[in-house]
Symmetry: C2
Subunit: 158 residues, 2 copies
């Protein structure tokens, strides 16, 4: 049966992603406070992804990372996440946004150090050949045929 593409949707009423994370352990467990609602995929967009993401208290957006080819952008809707980059810690507020340029090697992630949920919109393109680099963890990610493959920094499998 052909899936119908909606004209428009109420974002926060859409179903969250079933598979919470692609990370191997011990990293997958660190994503337990994160829930992503894929929005771009609902409209069969393929050039970039858009997610409405919720971080519970102590949740994080991802391991701190940078991409070789993917630009990323986030816009905070609710709550006050802390953005960690090579420059240090920046507390964000609703209405604030940040962009993470491909290839600059500046590892970044959001962590929720408050007692309230954080909700933000995240956008990232899907340029082939992208790699993810993780300055704080023994992990390397490679986008192979549209799927993320994770290995140790020395290339050995998890």
């Amino acid at each position: 049966m052909k899936k119908t593409i909606p004209i428009a949707v109420k974002a926060d009423q859409m179903p969250p992603r079933v598979r919470a994370t692609n990370y191997p352990e011990p990293f997958a467990s660190r994503m337990i406070g994160r829930e992503k609602i894929p929005l771009g995929d609902l409209f069969e967009l393929s050039n970039f992804g858009v997610n409405l993401t919720r971080l519970a208290p102590n949740g994080m957006s991802a391991l701190r990372h940078s991409h070789s080819k993917q630009d990323e952008f986030i816009f905070v809707f609710q709550g006050s996440p802390t953005l960690i980059t090579d420059e240090g810690r920046t507390l964000l507020l609703p209405g604030m946004c940040a962009g993470f340029k491909a290839g600059n090697g500046n590892g970044h992630h959001l962590i929720n150090e408050t007692s309230e949920d954080v909700i933000y919109l995240e956008i990232g393109d899907r340029t082939p050949g992208d790699e993810g680099h993780y300055p704080d963890d023994d992990l390397k990610a490679m986008l192979v045929d549209g799927q993320w493959k994770f290995v140790h920094k020395d290339g050995s499998p998890y």
Copy 2:
């Protein structure tokens, strides 16, 4: 002097785009109620653009159009724009989003038929070779070296 890339910004406090539209007349004048704040460019993102766009009453997002290669996505922050597509009219509310898949030929735009401003976030990728098609107007757009070039449907210049 090297331009400094910010870590994060308050989106609605950033400067609007100086050049309001690239359309030739008589289409440029129809964009008078539209103001775009480029956000992705502030962070030197190049794979896609992100704008915070305001439509005054009677304003429109663009001429009704479709892209050959660019996926587009919008998320409504404030107000109630009317989304026009080949399927007709859909009134949107804050918290609603819509995506426009490249290559499907479904012309779309937002118009503000209310007496209050509409504010939304718009995302579109910058895939080379993109073209814009305009079902209701004698216009064709081609992305050449990162710049939009507009001609009549028969290819003659404006």
